[in-house]
Amino acid sequence: MSSHYESSYREPLVLGNKSYHDITEDIAKPIEGKANKNWYIAFYISLAAMLWGFGCIFYTVGTGIGVWGLNKNIGWAWDITNFVWWVGIGHAGTLISAVLLLFRQKWRMAINRSAEAMTIFAVFQAGLFPIIHMGRPWNGYWVLPIPNQFGSLWVNFNSPLLWDVFAISTYLSVSLVFWWTGLLPDFAMIRDRAVKPFQKKIYALLSFGWSGRAKDWQRFEEVSLVLAGLATPLVLSVHTIVSMDFATSINPGWHSTIFPPYFVAGAIFSGFAMVQTLLGIMRKVTNMEEYITRLHVEYMNIVIILTGGIVAVAYASEFFIAWYTGSPYENYTYMSVGAATGPYGWAFWSLILFNIAIPQLLWFKKLRRSFIVSFLISIAINIGMWFERFDIIAIVLSKGHLPSTWWRFEPTFVDVGIFVGTIGFFFVLFLLYARTFPVIAQAEVKTILKSSGENFKKLREENNEH
């Protein structure tokens, strides 16, 4: 028992009187049981939204980008807003599994699986937007450096848009591999207890024949550690490079050297908010209340306060610098008096309210330990972070250098439809995942049961082992 010592002052991470077998049972239950009515309702709503979005995508591709609300000055609006929003959401998963692994944070184990699933599904949605915006998505392979029919014309490696292609595809594929490697032992667990032959076949296929030899585990742990070390700078690089799409341009409001760190902080902020939203529902639906506890929610809220604080300071410095330059062009950047009082004032103030004001409630311990308050605040942050990207893109582009180029952006039903469609697609994937995948990394949770399980902590206390 001594090798599993952990101070009794630390709150337990696994509640209840659990044994290793109980963990197996709890994680396998949602997969082996039948879905309830609420799951079907949620699934069909998401499916309808997804199909609507696909319809809008077909309409866009069939007719042309003209069906969107873009115009000659605002050539980027909802599509890139949604792209950056989804990529940002996709930051929490790998951050939780990689950075928190390097810091040896045990609380990551209950949430990393779902957070990574969320990451992968969110990056899928993000990837859709640049591809649709090409207008001719069948030429999408032109972004790859392959010899082509134009002679030896190559892609432009000086362009931040191409850096994005490499960053996002590396991030998606590495996250997927990291996720799947962690899933192998858990799929094997489902496989070995499956009674239906078809189910057994499927999970045998998914588990790649994982047998759990001592050597396999030794390699597994080494691979996880090295992947975490590789994925940590990778996570930070992705949104850094996304921010360079803006920062390397010459538009006032975009040409900003603080964009990379500020975008990364914003991405983690929104990613954790989305994890909070999803897990707030999932812990109830799949009965994981004893694994995803108040303590997990509080820890995530602390990350949200920190990264939200970084974002707030970035807004403040952008606002100050825009004013301090005295340049009239800077007065129309997304963080300026001009933006706050102009036609997009409502978007500016939504950003301030949802992203800066509301998250401050998390300073109160009582509120950040409340499930319902955390859930509501996380939704506010999701909205706020969408407005951040909308403001940066649409407000900046709506006021060009010449007053004759001052235009406004009005989304069409197609813009809205595609966005709603990606939300539907995301939830369709997540709901299917929650029914068929082990939603908690049970093999990892078993390793911390003796040190951080409630019953083992009590046992140590009774034996006076402090």
Binding site: S3, F166, R191, W217
Partner: protein
């Protein structure tokens, strides 16, 4: 008497398993394999397994990725079709290098991560349609299984394992 006989000793606790492994090793028996439902820290050392070299392979894969990226950016941007983009001509790789840093980094990570994982899958024999080889389905749930080859010392081994807290001891023919 078959030489392919092995003893399967099952345990239901990681600490008891660790003590058992040490005891069996002290008695100079060869442990063929231990199947676990989760990683048990220190088990590889106790069993006398050599450390894995996967991290070293990742380093070399990363170097490979970096070299590929250097070659790719140099060949496409400088050698094959140099262009003057935005008033920034492509004279030499060294002067253009700062613009290639994101690509150099991403390809390094891409190669290191994927090739390391592929190496892991190959070395541990993990791929789709591969049949699982754990002898007892309980070893992915809450049981630990120690496999010891028998060389005519079946009774002696059994007696030793009884003292280590095994919950089940089976002698099986391995094919």
């Amino acid at each position: 008497m078959s030489t392919n006989k092995v003893i399967h000793a099952l345990y239901n606790d990681d600490d008891i398993l660790m003590d058992a492994v040490k005891k069996v090793k002290d008695a100079h028996h060869h442990i063929e394999e231990v199947f676990c439902p989760f990683p048990v820290h220190g088990l590889d050392k106790a069993m006398g397994l050599a450390p894995t070299r996967l991290a070293i392979t990742a380093f070399f894969y990363g170097i490979t990725g970096l070299s590929v990226a250097v070659w790719l950016t140099w060949y496409t941007m400088i050698a094959d079709w140099p262009q003057d983009i935005g008033g920034k001509p492509n004279f030499s790789w060294a002067t253009n290098m700062p613009a290639f840093v994101p690509i150099l980094f991403e390809l390094t990570v891409f190669f290191a991560a994927h090739l390391m994982v592929i190496t892991f899958y190959m070395r541990s024999r993990l791929w789709p349609f591969k049949d699982a080889e754990n002898p007892d389905p309980r070893t992915t749930d809450d049981h630990f299984l120690m496999e010891i080859p028998v060389h005519g010392n079946e009774d002696e081994l059994k007696a030793l394992l009884e003292t280590t807290g095994a919950v089940e001891i089976n002698v099986v023919d391995k094919h």
